[in-house]
Amino acid sequence: MSGAGIVIAFWVLAITSVGSALAVVWVRDIFRAALFLVLCFASVAGLYITLNADFLAAVQILIYAGAISILLIFAIMLTRDTRSAGRSTYLRNPAFLIALLLFITLLFAVLNTDWQAVAQVGTEPSTTAIAQLLFDKTKGFVLPFEIASVLLLVAMIGAIALVKED
């Protein structure tokens, strides 16, 4: 595929993702905000595709756009009064502080990253490469991977134990 197509795709996706991310914050209706978040996740997946990270893109759609958004929607459903969700609350100032701290952290990360080294995009499909990195016998991350899954299992069993009736 030609380079021009990638550039056009990048700009369309970048504008969509930033625009929908801003809409998440600005839209008053909390359900529409959640939908804009799904759009944001999906366009980030599109950005991964322009970087030839096909596996990452599919996982982004599956987990963020498919599962996390469903979790958000469940949270909205369980919220008693969604109409007044846009009003300011007493948590406004602490939230502003946390957002500011997050922004400063991200700013540092952006400024300190060597973007030239990252800019070299691989042309090969990345699924096998990811598997190699994760599960290689000598320098892989099999143990951390297993620990992470055990952690998730513990969290799941904990959740079930919390809501069990008897």
Binding site: M1, S2, A4, G5, D29, F31, R32, L35, V38, D54, F55, A58, V59, I61, L62, A65, G66, A67, S69, I70, I73, F74, M77, P125, T127
Partner: protein, 390 residues
Amino acid sequence: MNLWDYIYNLANIRDRITDWANGLFVGWVVYLLIALVGIVAILIFLVPSLMAFIWIERRLVGRFQVRYGPNRVGPFGILQPVADALKVLAKEALTPADADKWVFWLAPVAIFVPALLVYAVLPFGPRMSFADLNIGILYVVAISSLSAISVFMAGWSSNNKFSLLGAMRAVAQMVSYEVPMVLSILGVIMLAGSLQMSHIVQEQLDRNVWFILIQPLGFMVYFISAVAELNRTPTDIMEAESEIVAGYHTEYSGMKFSLFYLAEYTNALAVSAIISTLFFGGWGTAPILDKLPPWLWFIAKIYFFFAILVWMRGTLPRLRIDQLMGFAWKFLLPLALINLFVTGAEVLVWEEYDLAAGWIIPSMVIINFALAGILIVAWTKLFQLRRAWA
């Protein structure tokens, strides 16, 4: 190449067009042109198939219920879908006064997008995918997980309690059944050693064994969870008309309603195609029968599995929501996990010994079928769906 070669493998037509266009245009025009040809080809297959499916379903369900079904429009009522389409186009599309107008309008469109996107990776024949992605089946799983959001959009924006109840049920059901579905696909992926759809089919043809024979349990789990994801009748609690009017599309009418209706059939068609790809050797057939084009066999398999879906719909009663959820978590999920474990062991054996040793595949087939039978019987004894009055 003569005419038969072009009919036998439609990819040859695409190659011919590519060659012709390469001489005339620059790269990106050719790219766009080929993409357009692929989209048109998929639509040429899809639109008549959808009409045929609607007709087949109504006729077959009619037979099951000892009545005629549509038989007035055209011979055997075959033009009934056309008449329905015209009627639906002429109808007024109402919007409730208190609805969230934008989301209400967007939901039927949004539900059709993932339904169509799945067709991009289906392998209709050798080299006959629109985009033979490296991550094919993962792409299918990822894209089809999006349809729950559109269903919820419809239910929420209608501002109607039945719509919202239907949408809540839909989301709970789709999220639950996605887990055993993905786990049962994993067995096939492990055997094939690839996520690519064409590679999965090729692997079955190379080894002369359809994966249904090695993965009977995986097939059953996949089939049941896929039917649940489709929300067709044994599991259509989200639009159960005897309980919640019509579920999430209670407030929809006219063309907007028919988009939901068509998306259901589009998904049914895609699920039939994925079942034939993963478990029934895709476009492959017996050596004598492959005089006919491979894509014809693939389409024949799709129609066969759709007929089974209709059969299930005509035969089985609707499950209650607690039974449905219990079935996913207590029955399908453990079976899928055991199946995954056994398949892992079998893949190790498969890699250890040369496949030329003829005993491996037959013994695997016997072991797997015995295991599937024992497990299903054992689980039905251990776990029974609660009766309504218990």
